[in-house]
Amino acid sequence: MTNPIWVASGTAGYGEELAKFFPLSKLGAFVTKTITPEPRPGHPPPRTAELPMGMLNAIGLANVGTEAFIRDKLPLLKASGTTVVVNVAGRRIDEFAAQAEAIGNCEGVHFLELNLSCPNVKEGGTEFSADPHMAEKTVRAAVDKSRVPVIAKLSPNVADIGSIARGAEAGGAAALSVMNTLVGLAIDVWRRTPRITFGTGGYSGPAVKPVALAMVHKTYRAVKIPVIGIGGIATAMDVAEFLMAGATCVQVGTQTFVTPTTAATLADQLGPFLEKLGARSSQELVGTLKI
């Protein structure tokens, strides 16, 4: 059985951190945190707020930048034997293209994932997935420069994710990751300020799972390319829900913060759980939701 369990961008570092806990080859794929052309320090603390059944974060795309990533971080991922997905972002379409050229042609990289939808940077970011034409143009610019297939990661913070999905598909995306975090706000009533420095942040964790399932299902019905489900996955049953909603693979995100071995454990647990459902492989469940 092909393992459909991946780890999500921004929740698994560069691989070196989780490699202390399990061999990365246990994953269906490893998705790096977002790599931008230049290094970014990220936002000042506090960057995260723990909420009931979820968390709010605005890290600010802190990362080492493309050059240091290729030099210092990629070799470990390459050697790990896992499928390597590098998540990239730029401030403009030409920067997405430059990222695709710089990283999408590196040996040891199997896929690019475009962060079309980070809600947590001042320069915006969501505009790349707020409009179908913009999504199409951005994806095409990356696809044209990249040797490896390009996945587009979509935002739920849009009116119609189906139209954005079709735009990304038209631009040549090989698959769609659904979804990025929901824009949220947490308030410290004593100070009358947001609980995180940036103000709003991305809401993730078990609380967002129903929203993610709806987004995955809507996207699945809108496009022909595979959908990768993300949002609040913590158990094998959660994985099965996403598969039924139309996801071909899933990414474990916030739950890796709770327990670093979650994705590896789910990879072990999924087979026996699929058997209980009478399925021989995860692919048999994809899109089988009766609705």
């Binding site: 951190e17 974060n57 913060f257 670093p260 590896a264």
Partner: protein
């Protein structure tokens, strides 16, 4: 999978007074000989709330038991206090870095504030294990009042000169622990020695230790506490702004810490 992720069992919850508890856990493998500063990331309740674990510095490890110290204050510690002997608790760890050894011409001064005692007490033991002489160590331990100065019997067993401080003067010196630190700096200076201190306690105490270092040039190391969603270096939530040359760089409390040089931390 990894022996850094395991289920422990509550062996005992000892009430030390002043809402301070000593939690003893039975663990699958011995952590004896551990270095001061290492912490366990503990699921305070089987869930679903709170979502994230809480970090506790390891106080002691004997055989297949470990101890942590905590004060019942927030939502997490209130849940932890309810865990009864025999219950299973999920643990990730040990995680984090440790203190650095003092130099030959230095006096090692331990500075503990309240439930910040564990890494400091353990570091004193580590120094003994490494052959460091008792007369080149001093323990300073401060709290709001005498009730919060817990585990004094264990500190006495170290055989190190110990000075206490309380805010209300109910035990030892009345006033701030940094005043005691300044005295040790003078004493060491009179003997031609330097102080290197190792501190853990409330943020205000650590900030005043850092201020002392800035004013005197005395070297010190601080064990910090921050909200720490993951503890494993991946969430980038527990960052501390640190000086690096002319620049400020964010370091992760869980990976580059929890112990930082007193001079590097940028205080708000």
């Amino acid at each position: 999978m990894s022996d850094l992720v395991f289920d422990a069992r509550v062996a005992a919850q000892e009430d030390l007074g002043s809402d301070i508890r000593l939690l003893r856990l039975s663990v699958p493998r011995s952590l004896e000989g551990f270095r001061a500063g290492l912490f366990l990331h503990i699921q305070v309740d089987p869930g679903p709330l709170p979502l994230f674990r809480r970090a506790y510095s390891i106080l002691a490890a004997h055989g297949k038991e470990v101890e942590v110290l905590y004060k019942v204050s927030g939502a997490g510690t209130k849940l932890l206090a309810r865990r009864a002997p025999g219950e299973s608790i999920s643990v990730v760890g040990p995680l984090g870095n440790s203190f650095t050894s003092p130099a030959k011409d230095e006096v090692a001064v331990m500075v503990a504030g309240g439930v910040g005692l564990p890494p400091v007490l353990r570091w004193s033991e580590n120094l003994f294990e490494a052959g460091w002489a008792a007369n080149r160590q001093v323990m300073l331990y401060g709290a709001r009042d005498s009730g919060e100065l817990v585990l004094r019997d264990r500190i006495a067993k170290l055989g190190v000169r110990t000075e206490y401080a309380t805010d209300d003067g109910s035990f030892g010196h009345r006033g701030r622990i940094t005043e005691l630190l300044a005295r040790e700096h003078e004493k060491a200076g009179a003997q031609g020695l330097k102080v290197r201190y190792y501190a853990c306690g409330p943020a205000a105490m650590l900030a005043s230790c850092a201020e002392f270092s800035k004013n005197t040039g005395v070297q010190g190391e601080l064990a910090l506490e921050t909200a720490m969603p993951c503890g494993t270096g991946v969430c980038l939530g527990c960052i501390v702004p640190c000086h690096q040359g002319d620049q400020i760089r964010y370091k992760r409390t869980c990976m580059e810490g929890p112990i930082f040089d007193a001079g590097e931390v940028v205080w708000p």
